[in-house]
């Protein structure tokens, strides 16, 4: 298996706080990786660095063997990386389908201007994540937290990423919704999607990942299968310590 993403020696400081410290890990194609750790461990910061929403102070990022540190956010999306936000960030004045549309946009302005939206494809993606016919026409202000999370997921899936960064997609969802999203992820994985999943809901995460990386205070403290890391003493301390 080749590495889809490799993070090498990544460091990010906010003033005196080192949020990510000499971090290194990789994800191979088709693999699914869990990224866990207590609050403030630096998980979201890692996603921000991978997406270039923050600039690393040092370290390198390789995607499909290519160093991507110089690529701006949208270019990384076009290469095939997409992320969901821990706090959903829908476009507030757009319906669910219009939000999904933004994930499906071509890079070329002329095509944006002349080619119409693919209404059917938009609706299909909406339904895939569990929206009803009525809900896809609603505005974010009318949606529940669970539905906002689904919208985050739908918009990123619409970009057809090779690598998906999932930041707390299960938070605020009902058991039924978690099952539905899990099923969708299993399905997408079969189709070749690679993802990194951040979740505090370890029970939901466990069956969805091949391997887990545990972070605490910006550094990796354990790595292995879910069972292995959960049994690790340092991991238990980190979680209990908070």
């Amino acid at each position: 298996m080749t590495d889809l993403l490799e993070v090498r020696d990544l460091t990010k400081r906010f003033g005196g706080l080192t949020a990510v410290r000499n971090l290194g890990f990789s994800v191979s194609e088709g693999e699914s990786l869990g990224l866990i750790g207590p609050n403030g461990a630096g998980k979201t910061t890692v996603f921000n660095l991978i997406m270039s929403e923050l600039r690393q102070d040092s370290g390198e990022l390789f995607f499909q063997g290519r160093e991507i540190s110089k690529y701006p956010t949208h270019a990384r999306v076009k290469l095939g990386i997409a992320r969901t936000y821990q706090v959903p960030r829908p476009f507030g004045e757009m319906t669910v389908t219009e939000n999904i549309r933004m994930g499906m946009m071509p890079d070329d302005l002329w095509q944006m201007l002349t080619k119409g939206p693919q209404h059917d494809a938009e609706r299909d993606i909406g339904k895939d994540v569990g929206f009803s016919e009525r809900e896809v026409a609603m505005y974010p202000g009318e949606l529940s937290m669970g539905n906002l999370r689904k919208l985050e997921l739908a918009r990123t899936i619409a970009a057809e990423p090779k690598l998906l960064l999932l930041d707390e997609v299960f938070a605020g969802l009902t058991v039924g919704e978690i099952a539905q999203i899990s099923e969708l992820l299993v399905e997408k994985r079969k189709q070749g999607l690679t993802y990194i999943m951040v979740s505090h809901d370890l029970r939901a995460l466990a069956p969805l990942v091949d391997r887990v990386v545990v972070m605490s205070f910006g550094a990796i403290i354990a790595e292995g299968t879910f069972k292995e890391v959960i049994a690790d003493k340092k991991v238990r301390e980190a979680y209990l310590g908070q």
Binding site: T73, H74, M94, D107, L109, M112
Partner: protein
């Protein structure tokens, strides 16, 4: 066919306005000419600020570049209008890069203040640098006119406004229009959805400048003169902003409605408010609009339409 259906209100509006010279006085037509130029400027503002949320307080800067370019070309060099006007539009688009560069780094209030500063700088430059060329404080007058008479000028300004209006209105209905508005809602999220916001912004700035350039050049030749105090004027800036805001920013139709409304209102109030009291009017309308129709008239008509529709269905 679908396009024609969605354009039916534009057609009604167009036909109605074309018939207007049959029933109103030339005095009224002259006022409407000003409304139509204001509508062009307000639409130019709207496609940039209303859509992308990069609020320009310096639109007179763009309009002034256009006006001065064509004024100097025709006045000093006798360049024909069919050359000087396109040249003015190109110059305006190049000038808009001065707006675009700060927009790469700043947003919100900072951006607005930077654009205001550009307007002020140009105001002073036009007076002191090369007054022989720019006409200094007095500006340049006796510029060639495109056509003469109230009626032809009414049709010219209406035609240009109408074509720009329909064009921009169709544009904001495309995916490109939707993409531009994501910049206003959440520029970072737009980027992480894969949108090249820099390219989109550049497009919005260029388009805005293109429209401002056409409007500015034609307006200058309509007036036959240009002076720093007339163009780089806070009152002119207010008119543009308020026309766009009270009509409904981001909608293109709104700024047109706002421009007609504001121009007619100020004209109606002119006998009562000869001087700077008009600033009070600007303030008052803005407050009223903010409280009673924060999304502009455009929206009020939309709501009325829905109400009427609901009544119709009930019966």
């Amino acid at each position: 066919m679908g396009v024609l259906v969605s354009l039916r209100w534009w057609l009604v509006f167009g036909v109605g306005m074309c018939l207007l010279p049959l029933v109103v006085s030339t005095g009224t037509l002259r006022i409407l000419v000003f409304a139509q130029f204001l509508a062009i400027f307000a639409m130019s503002w709207d496609i940039l600020s209303g859509r992308t949320g990069y609020i320009s307080f310096g639109h007179p800067f763009l309009i002034g570049i256009a006006g001065y370019t064509t004024a100097m070309l025709t006045y000093h060099l006798g360049v024909p209008l069919y050359f000087s006007i396109p040249a003015a539009v190109v110059a305006t688009m190049i000038g808009s890069i001065f707006f675009f560069i700060p927009a790469l780094r700043t947003r919100g209030t900072y951006f607005a203040v930077v654009t205001l500063a550009f307007m002020e700088v140009l105001y002073h430059l036009m007076q002191v640098v090369q007054p022989k060329l720019t006409g200094g404080t007095r500006g340049l007058s006796g510029l060639p006119t495109i056509i003469l008479g109230a009626v032809p000028n009414y049709y010219l300004s209406f035609g240009v406004m109408f074509v720009i209006g329909v064009g921009l209105w169709l544009l904001i209905r495309t995916r490109l229009g939707t993409a531009l508005s994501t910049i206003r809602m959440d520029e970072d999220a737009a980027r992480s959805s894969g949108l090249n916001t820099t390219k989109l912004k550049l497009f919005a700035f260029m388009l805005s400048a293109f429209v401002a350039g056409i409007g500015g050049a034609l307006y200058t030749h309509y007036l036959g003169s240009i002076a720093p105090r007339g163009i780089f004027d806070i009152s002119f800036l207010f008119s543009i902003l308020i026309a766009a805001l009270i009509g409904g920013a981001g909608t293109i139709v709104g700024p047109i409605m706002g421009a007609y409304f504001l121009t007619l209102l100020l004209e109606f109030l002119r006998p009562y408010l000869p001087g700077p009291e008009r600033y009070l009017i600007y303030g008052a309308i803005t407050l009223l609009a903010y409280y009673y129709a924060p999304k502009g008239f455009h929206n009020i008509f939309g709501l009325l339409w829905q109400r009427l529709g609901a009544l119709g269905r009930r019966e």
